[in-house]
């Protein structure tokens, strides 16, 4: 049994006096798509921050490819092979799409490899290619999401962390984003995805964890969770018609 690519081990996280994670543990297997679900203030974005080194846990460990990374500054985590598609995209609005993509490759030194990857991105994301010289801030939400994903891929990461990739997108772009996530994963990139929209996430993930106020209350294969009635309770706080 191979070790998971990313492992979070019994972490406790605090924002000042407020505890955000209570003895949290989860695993992301190499080559898998794993989704972290939960409502507002459940701690899911905090989990992403922990993985990316934007926040440090008070106790516990985060291990990436066998190396302990909690306590590392963010730029070191990124250089170790983790890519990030932040919540609300956060593309650099005043830079062109090309400059944004190149920023994704900031940590890399191989200029030829970067140039090749840029070409690959333009093929994989045709909408992005169309707007390559436009200021990224002028693109629509869905197009910006494409740019953010392409940007993260430009770093040739082994693990991509995505924070609510479908939030605020029109149904058309939601479809596209999910297709792309599947395609990326197909090409070998492990995906760790935080999502508000349980239905969508469970369509595409292999495994999922459900967070509620800093604790994992449900976990397992997405196929099983999809039909588990407890997920509605845990996630939405009540039953609703379907």
């Amino acid at each position: 049994m191979t070790d998971p690519l990313l492992r979070i081990d019994h972490i406790n996280t605090f924002y000042g006096a407020v505890q955000a994670h209570f003895d949290l543990s989860l695993e992301v297997g190499a080559g898998r798509i794993v989704s972290l679900l939960g409502g507002n203030a459940s701690g899911k974005s905090t989990t992403m921050k922990i993985v990316l080194g934007l926040l440090s846990p008070a106790s516990g460990a985060v291990t990436f490819d066998g190396v302990q990374i909690n306590g590392w500054p963010t730029h070191r985590v990124i250089r170790a092979g983790v890519g990030s598609v932040p919540e609300a995209r956060r593309i650099f609005p005043l830079m062109t799409v090309r400059e944004n993509l190149l920023m994704g490759a900031y940590a890399r030194g191989d200029r030829n490899g970067v140039a090749d990857d840029l070409q690959r991105m333009l093929t994989l994301f045709p909408r992005v290619a169309e707007r390559i010289n436009q200021r990224a801030g002028t693109l629509s939400g869905g197009e910006q999401q494409m740019v953010a994903m392409a940007r993260a891929l430009m770093g040739r990461p082994r693990l991509i962390c995505m924070d609510e990739p479908t939030m605020g997108l029109s149904p058309l772009y939601v479809d596209r984003v999910l297709e792309l996530i599947a395609e990326i994963n197909h090409q070998g990139v492990t995906v760790f995805m935080v999502e508000q929209n349980a239905n969508l996430a469970l369509q595409i993930a292999h495994e999922a964890y459900v967070l509620q106020t800093g604790r994992i209350v449900l976990q397992g294969s997405a196929a099983l969770l999809r039909s588990d009635p407890r997920i509605r309770e845990a996630y939405l706080g009540g039953t609703a018609a379907s």
């Binding site: 507002n40 605020g168 999910l178 018609a241």
Partner: protein, 281 residues
């Protein structure tokens, strides 16, 4: 009887995005009306316009017969409208007691408008001299604050002099509600009061809100926890992308397919579903 709160044709645009589009909404006295919808649907924007933090581009808001959509938040508070905030905004370095006391600000004698310019001088004088009437008022308010805090059991009373930032997230949300109650509002706006609370805390909050409703409080509620919404509401409005897509009784809204689709997210991934299955299997 005229409704307590009415919104007609309310529209708010931010640059190219229409956050709220021609929203019509009515709250009758004594009702609990819920506003639900996915993230980004425009609910908090609507709240901001009602409480005066934002102004609509079109449309109007009428509260107790008065148009309020061009009034400042301070004036609207003085009319008896209290609100809580989506992520909780207590005064971090003030004690629990001071936080709740501040809710009663509009009711203070010292704050009553008397004469332009000299108002401030009067207020300062009253604060420094503290005639018996002022002392009595302060004592009465503090007693009232205790009463309000007792609604939350022992949790807040036991820490009444502690700075708010030292309390847990759930307690801080409770302080917010206590502060709103201290205003003795005619209309209470609650923005996701149970966000981030576990099921036990949520149930307690639900009971509290039901209690307030039973005492005749008029409440406009934004919530994501649908069971709570169904149990508490007289009527529900559903927003999606700034547009009202449904309104009616809990039963009616619960069975409306458009609502389910919008609120819970796509239950099917559109046209791509089949090809996705192929890729991921």
């Amino acid at each position: 009887m005229a409704p307590l709160l009415e919104m007609r044709g309310l529209t708010r645009r931010f640059g190219g995005v229409t956050a709220v589009k021609t929203l019509d909404l009515v709250v009758e006295e004594g009702e609990l009306v819920s506003l639900i919808g996915p993230n980004g649907a425009g609910k908090t924007t609507a709240f901001n316009m009602i409480s005066g933090l934002d102004q609509p581009n079109e449309g109007e808001i009428v509260f107790a017969g008065r148009p309020i959509h061009r009034l400042a938040p301070e004036a609207i508070a003085a009319l008896g409208l209290a609100r809580t905030f989506q992520h909780g905004r207590v005064f971090a370095n003030l004690s629990v007691e001071d936080n709740v006391l501040l809710g009663a600000h509009t009711r203070l004698r010292a704050v009553r408008p008397r004469a332009p310019l000299l108002d401030g001088v009067f207020e300062l004088a009253l604060a420094l001299i503290r005639p018996p009437a002022v002392e009595r008022e302060e004592a009465a308010l503090k007693a009232e604050v205790r009463e309000i805090l007792r609604l939350f059991g022992d949790r807040l009373i036991s820490r009444v002099h502690d700075a708010a930032y030292t309390l847990s997230y759930a307690n801080r949300r409770r302080i917010e509600i206590a502060r709103a109650l201290a205003l003795r509002p005619r209309l209470l706006l609650l923005d996701e009061p149970t966000a981030g609370m576990n099921p036990t805390e949520t149930a307690e909050m639900q009971a509290l809100i039901a209690g307030l409703k039973a005492q005749g409080m008029t409440i406009l509620l934004i919530e994501h926890k649908l069971e709570m919404v169904m149990n508490l509401s007289n009527r529900i409005y559903v927003l999606d992308d700034g547009v009202k897509i449904a309104e009616g009784s809990p039963e009616g809204v619960r069975n409306d397919p458009a609502v389910v689709e919008a609120y819970l997210g796509h239950s099917e991934v559109g046209r791509g579903a089949r090809s996705l299955e192929a890729i991921t299997s």
